[in-house]
């Protein structure tokens, strides 16, 4: 437990700014499409509106459906507590917390899948089935990528790993870091239901993955889900940004600015990918995931081959 004011401040900023990231992605997509597009703060408006609504529950559902959104958000908020934010340390870091991070995302996914199955809808079952398939295949890529970073920095905690990565690391281990960053970017796209794996804008239930699992949620529950998804994207984005832009100036404001600039660029990058690529056919997605896993393995092998 390391508690200092900048860590708390960074956490608070993450909690507040997370819904901005989907806004950046949507603005980028609107720019590419030549549309006016939704405002940058659209998700804030949506959350505000949803939090003021009542709720409609399906007759088929049970307490699992009502637990899903809250437990999912609780898991991702806990994940936020173990990821260091911009040059600082995390609130709850320990040796091995990188496994806990994967576990918390797993918990969020598991309860979302159960809540989807609780509705008894064939569409939601379909989405749940696709979600578990793709995430099971993404899991090794994610953990092996983090393992490569652990070996590179000699630390098993996220704080230690990202504290150990510096600009000099990119001089000495550029191929390894580039491979890990590429694998993590693919995992980022899969885990956050983005093109080329899932299309958040699709309007056909049959083709959705993440969106279709939450079709039946409404009101504050749906607000929890949307906010949880944005926060998950923010947390995974912070990991990616801290690999690519390992800033340790020692000045809180500079580090924070680098992190936020990185997240902003990540949003633009995701928007660009979504504007310039078509979605993959479902049967092709496992190949993409195996590719991500292979990138992580190659990175690990390169790291293992480095003279100690």
């Amino acid at each position: 437990m390391t508690m200092n004011s900048t860590t708390i401040l960074n956490l608070a900023l993450s909690v507040v700014l997370a819904p901005l990231l989907p806004g950046v992605i949507n603005r980028t997509k609107a720019f590419f499409a030549g549309r006016k597009g939704p405002p940058l703060l659209q998700l804030y408006y949506d959350l505000w509106k949803l939090l003021h609504k009542g709720a409609v529950y399906s007759r088929t559902t049970s307490w699992v459906f009502r637990l899903g959104p809250a437990l999912g958000l609780a898991a991702v908020l806990t994940a936020l507590l173990i990821v260091p934010t911009g040059g600082g340390s995390s609130l709850l870091g320990f040796d091995g917390d990188l496994i806990l991070l994967a576990g918390l995302f797993g918990l969020m996914r598991f309860i979302t899948v159960l809540a989807a199955l609780d509705t008894g809808s064939a569409f939601e079952g379909m989405g749940a089935s696709r979600e578990v398939t793709f995430s099971a295949l993404a899991e090794p890529a994610f953990l092996l990528g983090l393992a490569a970073l652990a070996k590179l920095t000699g630390s098993l905690s996220l704080t230690g790993i990202f504290g150990g990565l510096t600009v000099e690391s990119w001089w000495s281990a550029a191929p390894e870091l580039a491979l890990v960053a590429a694998a993590m970017f693919l995992v980022f796209l899969v885990e956050n239901a983005r093109i080329p794996v899932d299309d958040p804008n699709t309007h056909l239930e049959l083709t959705m993955i993440h969106e279709v699992m939450v079709l039946d949620h409404g009101g504050p529950d749906f607000a929890f889900i949307l906010y949880g998804a944005a926060l998950k994207m923010w947390v995974m984005g912070m990991i990616l940004v801290q690999i690519v832009l390992p800033a340790h100036s020692g000045t809180w404001l500079v580090d924070l600015a680098v992190l936020l600039a990185g997240l902003l660029s990540l949003g633009v990058a995701v928007g660009t990918v979504e504007s310039t690529m078509a979605r993959l056919r479902m049967v092709r997605v496992p190949q993409l995931l195996v590719t991500a896993g292979a990138l992580s393995v190659v990175a690990l092998v390169l790291v293992l081959r480095r003279p100690v």
């Binding site: 958000l73 320990f94 917390d97 806990l100 070996k151």
Partner: protein
């Protein structure tokens, strides 16, 4: 230590009394359940003392058997296995009292049940090879009779045979192993066993012999047959603790073999990875709930073996942190798996009891009819999927951290096996989550798919209380990791052959991790509570309605339109088709107004079908060639005897 003997005595007396109660169903049940509970209480005391670091006086009685001695002792390793071995049968017995058919008396079943418990306790405290083998055999036979309880069914008899043959093939390897050990040391007492001339041969014999019991792939073929055939409270005991005696045997044997070689660790990691991945894939593709659970036991045995392998690599490389974390993770997973797999089998039994079917695709929506069964089953599903903040995550976390530490600390190429361990463990975790989302989700959530499921009812409290107790244990071990981990040091010290102080010191290195987990688990619980309160505040005074599930405007959805278990698993089984060889028989809809269509999928056991069946067919053919010896004529048999005697005489004289 005398309490252990007392416990075994209680089990035996209770069992026999139950058997002799004859037609009185009540008396048989009272003796059977009473003995299981009292025996557990008596045995748990010395086990708890040994885990706490106290010394337990060993017993050594002369035994009128060549090379045999009745010597018992309780060290940390034995104690760690004794606890689940006595607690799970006690809970399963309480459950069984309501589960077993009320029309019949079950004296024979209770006798075998208590014999099974007694033999497992004796097995893990025995300190003589012969005594160990006797207990091993009693365990195999009593469980064989339990598996074949419903022997009026052809499938049950078939499963029983598979089980019996597999057990005895495994025992043959153990017999050779103990004979080799005995020949080297001129004694079958464990205390005299020292690093013999050929430790690697002994190691391989132990892996095969004990692996058959534990269910290492490809020796697992009996598991998916025997577990579904047995009554559910027996499946819980067999899958929860009996197969772990194989793990105990392997770990105990490692303590005889002296300093381990590194490739032993690699072998165990290899076995663990294959059992883990193929076990969970086969589980994922099953449609019978108990078969699914049986394959998932293969997976978890794989995780435990992998973890022991990590420990051995650590020992061989002289890195005690890795060694201790590997053994601690594996041993904790032994306990954890006993808890959640026991609970899952009891839950599956409750479903079977309430609906009369184990077919996942014929169930659904049971959470409304059976709220307690559903809640405990879902808790166990989260635990077995290795998700925080429950107990399954804690043991897997130790294994991950052990592997990662090894990878970071050890030289450049050595840790490649650990890399495989990390990657595969991650994949197993993801697949297990998919598997138990399917099992828990399709059985308990949604709408009932058949009449049977719609008419289900909650099971009696004698069945619920054991399940609730096990679910609480899963939660508590998960949230209270800092209090649990120190209890492992005695057992780890014995398993890894290290001084207790070393094990203790290395385990205190995990204090940060355990505390971190407790904080994180607490954070999840507190934030969840906060969010639920927030939602309640927000919804207070607003309109909360109920309606039908959104089906894109379709107005007449039926329960049969829900996603089924097979369709849920299809994308993953498709990706891994290479290993699964799922067979499909499809009758596609034809014509402009199609009427009927059907799709049947079936995933056979790859090894059972393509390795063991041909092998046993071959044996049968060979035996058939010898049939000319067997005419049924007495005179010829007498001639064989005379000839054999003459040959022996000539050999002895010459």
């Amino acid at each position: 230590m005398y309490l252990i003997v007392v416990a075994i005595g209680i089990y035996l007396l209770g069992g026999v009394a139950s058997f002799l109660s004859g037609s009185s169903r009540r008396a048989a049940m009272a003796f059977g359940v009473g003995a299981a509970v009292l025996g557990a209480a008596a045995a748990a005391i010395p086990a708890g003392m040994a885990l706490a670091g106290g010394s337990v006086e060993p017993i050594r009685w002369a035994w009128n058997m060549p090379l045999g001695s009745f010597s018992l002792a309780m060290d940390g390793l034995s104690a760690l296995f004794v606890l689940p071995i006595v607690v799970l049968p006690a809970l399963a017995a309480i459950y069984g009292s309501a589960y077993l058919d009320r029309a019949k008396s079950h004296g024979r079943s209770w006798l075998c049940f208590n014999l099974l418990a007694a033999s497992m306790v004796l097995l893990v405290v025995a300190r003589n090879g012969l005594l160990f083998l006797v207990a091993w055999e009693v365990m195999s036979l009593s469980s064989f009779f339990l598996v074949t309880s419903e022997n009026e069914k052809e499938s049950v008899r078939q499963a029983g045979w598979t089980y019996l043959i597999a057990m005895h093939l495994g025992t043959a390897f153990l017999l050779v192993m103990f004979l080799l050990l005995g020949r080297e040391n001129n004694s079958l007492d464990f205390e005299n066993f020292t690093a013999a001339g050929m430790p690697s041969v002994l190691f391989l014999l132990a892996v095969i012999g004990f692996g058959t019991k534990a269910g290492f792939l490809p020796l697992h073929v009996w598991l998916p047959e025997a577990h579904p055939a047995a009554p559910s409270h027996v499946s819980a005991v067999m899958s929860g603790v009996m197969i772990k005696t194989g793990i105990y045997g392997l770990v105990r044997t490692l303590t005889f073999l002296g300093p381990p070689l590194e490739w032993w660790g690699w072998v165990l990691i290899g076995v663990g990875v294959t059992s883990g991945i193929l076990g969970v894939l086969l589980a994922l593709s099953q449609s019978d709930l108990k078969r699914l659970l049986a394959y998932s036991s293969v997976e978890n045995i794989g995780i435990i073996t992998l973890s022991l392998g990590v420990g051995l690599v650590g020992l061989a490389r002289g890195n005690m942190t890795v060694a201790v974390l590997g053994f601690a993770g594996g041993l904790l997973h032994v306990v954890n798996h006993a808890l959640f797999k026991g609970l899952l089998f009891l839950g599956a039994g409750a479903v079977l009891h309430a609906t009369g079917t184990r077919e996942i695709d014929r169930l659904g929506g049971l959470i409304k009819k059976m709220p307690w069964t559903a809640a405990t089953f879902l808790i166990a599903s989260v635990a077995i999927a290795g998700l925080p903040p429950l107990n399954g995550f804690i043991s897997e976390l130790l294994i991950f951290v052990g592997s990662l530490k090894g990878m970071v600390a050890l030289g450049s190429w050595g840790p490649a096996a650990l890399l495989a361990a990390i990657g595969c463990l991650a994949l197993i975790g993801g697949l297990a989550a998919a598997c138990f989302a399917k099992a828990g989700g399709v059985v308990f959530l949604g709408e009932p798919r058949t009449e049977q499921a719609a008419k289900a009812h909650e099971v009696p409290s004698a069945m619920l209380i054991p399940m609730i107790a096990l679910a609480l244990a899963c939660i508590l071990i998960g949230l209270l990791a800092p209090l649990v981990l120190p209890w492992l040091s005695e057992a780890v010290a014995v398993a890894a052959g290290l001084p207790v102080e070393t094990a203790h010191a290395e385990l205190s290195g995990t204090t940060g991790l355990a505390n971190g987990m407790a904080w994180a688990g607490g954070a999840v619980v507190v934030i969840l509570g906060g969010l639920l309160l927030l939602r309640r505040r927000l919804l207070a005074g607003r309109k909360v309605e109920t309606a039908g599930t959104w089906d894109c405007g379709y107005v007449a959805p039926t329960a049969r339109m829900q996603y089924t278990a097979s369709s849920f698993a299809e994308p993953l089984t498709e990706v891994f088709q290479m290993f699964l060889r799922t067979r499909r028989e499809a009758q596609l809809p034809t014509g402009l107004f199609p009427r009927e269509a059907s799709l049947v999928t079936h995933t056979p056991d790859l090894f059972g079908e393509s390795v063991f069946r041909p092998a046993f067919q071959g044996v049968k053919w060979l035996m058939g060639r010898l049939q000319w010896l067997q005419h049924g004529r007495l005179q010829l048999y007498v001639l064989y005897i005379v000839l054999a005697l003459l040959i022996l005489l000539a050999w002895k004289l010459g």
